[in-house]
Subunit: 337 residues, 4 copies
């Protein structure tokens, strides 16, 4: 059994992690922290978990029993992990769900996150944990930086196209998130009377997931126009990617390109022109589909922001790092309706 700790277990990302790890046969959740809820039982804060971990209480993050854990998930707000990691023992594996270790260029990090990098050297020890792109790096890593939810959706949608040199000119990304993406603290943007019957953009051109997309696609000439929206569902990222191709392609050719890249991936499914948030909810899948009309291409990617967009992918990374079958604890079918 791998003994894991979760720093920041009271947020939605942390809670989803608990939910997944509860059904993981090789993991023991040994410790969970929450600065806001020290001493409170996890099942008191999250009553849906009553009966599953009634003994477990939130600790203070500074009380992390680092020497008795095998792996530590960090699900803290941006800026906290990079202060905590240098003090952890080398032998402790770390998977960080924040943006702290995703960006290798300190100037870019500061531009998008508004704070300086604590220590660029620590940064370099982290591998960007998107298994479909760099599984082998994850396998050898002790420190993994888990991608952002929007970034996962868009990188997976564009990677084969960019690598294959199919794209001419800019890609316009119109990407919608469910309200759980904003976390469990009530805000104006998640206030039910405002959110439930509407749709509205935020952070025009400047969402902090953009630099990790550009970095992962690894193509300096690539131009991504990236626009995020708040949508009136709870779970899900639905990302639409609009672009012009260098030459006309048929639906079969587009499908072929994606199959070549992802045909054996356990968590990617091809859905042609039928992407739907309903079909990935509560699962670790990214459904990818497309429609093409001559040189115009639309690629859709859909995922559950708390699973493949956060906790599910973190467990997928853990499985790879620990040598477990990659889908352990993640093999459930999406739930619909």
């Amino acid at each position: 059994m791998v003994k894991v700790g979760i720093a920041g277990g009271s947020g939605y990302g942390g809670t989803e992690l608990i939910h997944i790890l509860l059904r993981h046969p090789h993991v023991d959740i040994a410790w969970v922290s929450s600065q806001q809820h020290v001493g409170k039982a996890v099942a008191e804060l999250y009553p849906h978990l009553r009966g599953f971990l009634d003994h477990l209480k939130f600790s203070a993050v500074q009380d992390v029993p680092a020497s008795s854990l095998d792996l530590l998930f960090l699900a803290l707000p941006h800026g906290h992990a990079m202060k905590m990691v240098p003090g952890l023992p080398d032998r402790l594996a770390v998977i960080d769900l924040s943006g702290d270790f995703r960006i290798s260029d300190p100037a870019v990090f500061e531009e998008y996150y508004g704070i300086p990098l604590e220590d660029p050297e620590v940064q370099k020890r982290f591998v960007y944990g998107l298994p479909e792109i760099n599984r082998e790096d994850v396998r050898r890593a002790r420190y993994v930086s888990n991608p952002g939810c929007f970034a996962t959706a868009t990188i997976l949608a564009l990677y084969p196209l960019v690598k294959g040199g199919w794209v001419e000119g800019p890609v316009f990304v119109d990407t919608k998130t469910g309200s759980s993406g904003a976390g469990n603290s009530p805000t104006a943007g998640t206030h039910h009377p405002r959110r439930t019957n509407s749709l509205f953009p935020y952070k025009p051109f400047r969402h902090q997931h953009l630099p990790e997309i550009v970095q992962a696609l690894g193509h300096p000439a690539n131009r991504v126009v990236f626009q995020t929206y708040s949508a009136p569902f709870v779970r899900g990222i639905f990302a639409s990617h609009y672009m012009t191709l260098r030459r006309p392609a048929s639906p079969e050719e587009v499908r072929g390109l994606f199959m070549d890249h992802y045909g054996s991936e356990p968590f990617i499914r091809w859905v042609a022109d039928k992407p739907d948030v309903n079909y990935v909810r509560h699962s670790n899948f990214t459904d990818i589909g497309a429609a093409v009309d001559g040189t115009y291409l639309i690629v859709w990617s859909v995922l559950d922001n708390l699973q493949k967009g956060a906790a599910g992918q973190a467990v997928q990374n853990m499985n790879i790092m620990c040598g477990f079958p990659e889908g352990t604890g993640l093999n459930l079918a999406p739930v619909h309706p």
Copy 2:
């Protein structure tokens, strides 16, 4: 033209008041306050109002131009109106939307609101503004206390039955509110991820609208078991009233009783067994219906919590006080879908 001011115009009740008064032909909105937003344009805080009152800015409540106003609506949090009213000039008509002046018994007020009454003598100057029950008192009043949203629904549903002596034993009230009833400040209970797919009770047996219901029904022996719920829609009160009758009644007799009381009321409609939040939304109507099976009776009442449950009823009261036709500014059909 009646010059009106609105103290507390940035809450949902105040905003709805502005919305209705904008189309009232005899009213000029001369002043609006908000402690949080002093100096900000109303249309900046509420962009849906852009183009309708672009000149109007929020003032501080203490800067009320009492001598130049004819009527003042108070849409402040509980506890504020009772401090403000004694300092207002006698000639200024007041309609208060809070609970401050609804309860005549100081002990009962303190029990349910958790604060003492400022001055029970001021209390006595207020008339309870439920026109269907005491229109003539409202007509003669300068000070009107506007009923609570839940209270309006339940009093209107039960009044004919209680007055007619039809009820045997307790009445059980199961009443659901939309999220706008909680106001425009985000809270755990209105957080979209929690609210939008659920239903949950709050304040078992002890909602603060209960004492005004008991007081208005005016029947000491009457027993009302009152349970409120948060429902996943934005606007609406849907109240279900369960009871046993002294003797069996037919659907026609039940309808007859309500028609006798409300047949000429401009804002009450009989809906038999088809009550639906959809059919009152954005209107000042209370739809009432019922189903009966021998001595068992279910009565439903449905209204828009921001209209008949707050701002609409306040304008209805103003119309009566000022001698305008009662439906002025309120004569719009509900909107569906």
Copy 3:
């Protein structure tokens, strides 16, 4: 491995059954029928299941390979199972999810379902499969009739009170269902523009789940006033039960009564005054709570209508019949947000 078939696998109940059985370690889904979709792949109709049972196609119900199956789930519309069962081989275990075999009195069945019972003798071979009430009967049964979703919620809420003789006079039941309860065929009541921001009653006093409630509570003098509502969420039954007690009770006494009955039940949790649809979703739990004020008692029960209200309970019954641990395939925590 138990070889199971599902007749009526394209409805929401059948699909949920497939979803649960996919993760059941001792079950092989050998056959699924759908009259509407003969020859179509299950994963084509339900794209969320892509990758999980791609080989499985819908057959015609009359082609049931009865001799090669161990257990047959019937998830057909009311009236179909009672025609099909007499033709099945005796050795085949059957769990029926419709209302066909729930009511022992033919006159009552006809009154509520509008059709006559095919054969009252066949009826008698079925055990009512509510494990918390009659687990031992289920254990010995070959034929199990799975309870209705509303009935499960209300019977579990009232059983200890009625058996203990606590109730004085009628119980008023105000019970709300999510839209998935209406099945996967679009209707006026599930049309999004009408359903999503509203709440409305249907079938006043006469829902077809009422007779199985009365029958299960087994108390001729008991009177249940039963009112169902359509609520704007997808999954969930939220049932509120209002009643007068013979003598005043404290919250602790009420809790004690329910703990005495259900303390060791794997799928019942006590939630005091915090019931919430969010906390049972996608799980087999029934959360029960209560609030009491002297002799007035409100009992709440909450469950997922497709799990404990249908497919989950059917699998629970199968586990009992087959001697598997009762929670096999059902031990997942509810999902929130």
Copy 4:
């Protein structure tokens, strides 16, 4: 008073027309038809209208009292109006809300609507009723073809840019509709369990509103990639337009362009980077905003699909045709929350 008739008054477009005309001071609704509901009272089918037009019943469309009407609104399914119009007396003004008379090229019409044009000569008598683009033509017209909801949003967003020659290369349109856009007949796409927590595309590249967009923009070289989505709200079109500009522009320049075109328009409001479905609901406004980053431009347009996208715009056209102030009956502020 203008005597109007409405053919197809039971659909959502027709019902919204009734709702608006009820408050129009110069209009008398003299006749309404519905093939499905001949003889039924309008207020029986649409209970929210109880008390407003209780005398009005649905007639059969062939019984149109053409000689006694001044103006006829046609809100029929595609393909019906073009059969009906040739039989109407010349003196009767007509505003058609379907797609029948929007497309001037018969081949294009047939390609997108799947049926041939009845009579291209009749087609030519119709003016495309988008007042912000061709108000003077509408003023002189007797026959007006009301634009599609998606088309209104996209034409208004792109017209100043295309006319000004600002756009380089294709414009990608990602446009979302509320469920009321699909009409009042339940379908798989509006089934609450599927629609309410999701988002999904339909008709890739081929929505029938595309040809009227291309035609209205009147720029043969212009290329519009048009993708429609079903969103989980009831009312609203939220359209995002992505493009590259010929040369970099500042936010002020973009705003200036739109102000130059629309600054005096009564139903267009500039919202910069804060477009929101909430702020146009139940009103005739189109809110337009934008964000620009060098040569990349995103333009948003938001409207209520049943108002500016259908019935509101039809009344706006009627007001222009009849010489009434353009906002008569349409001057209500949007409603929020």
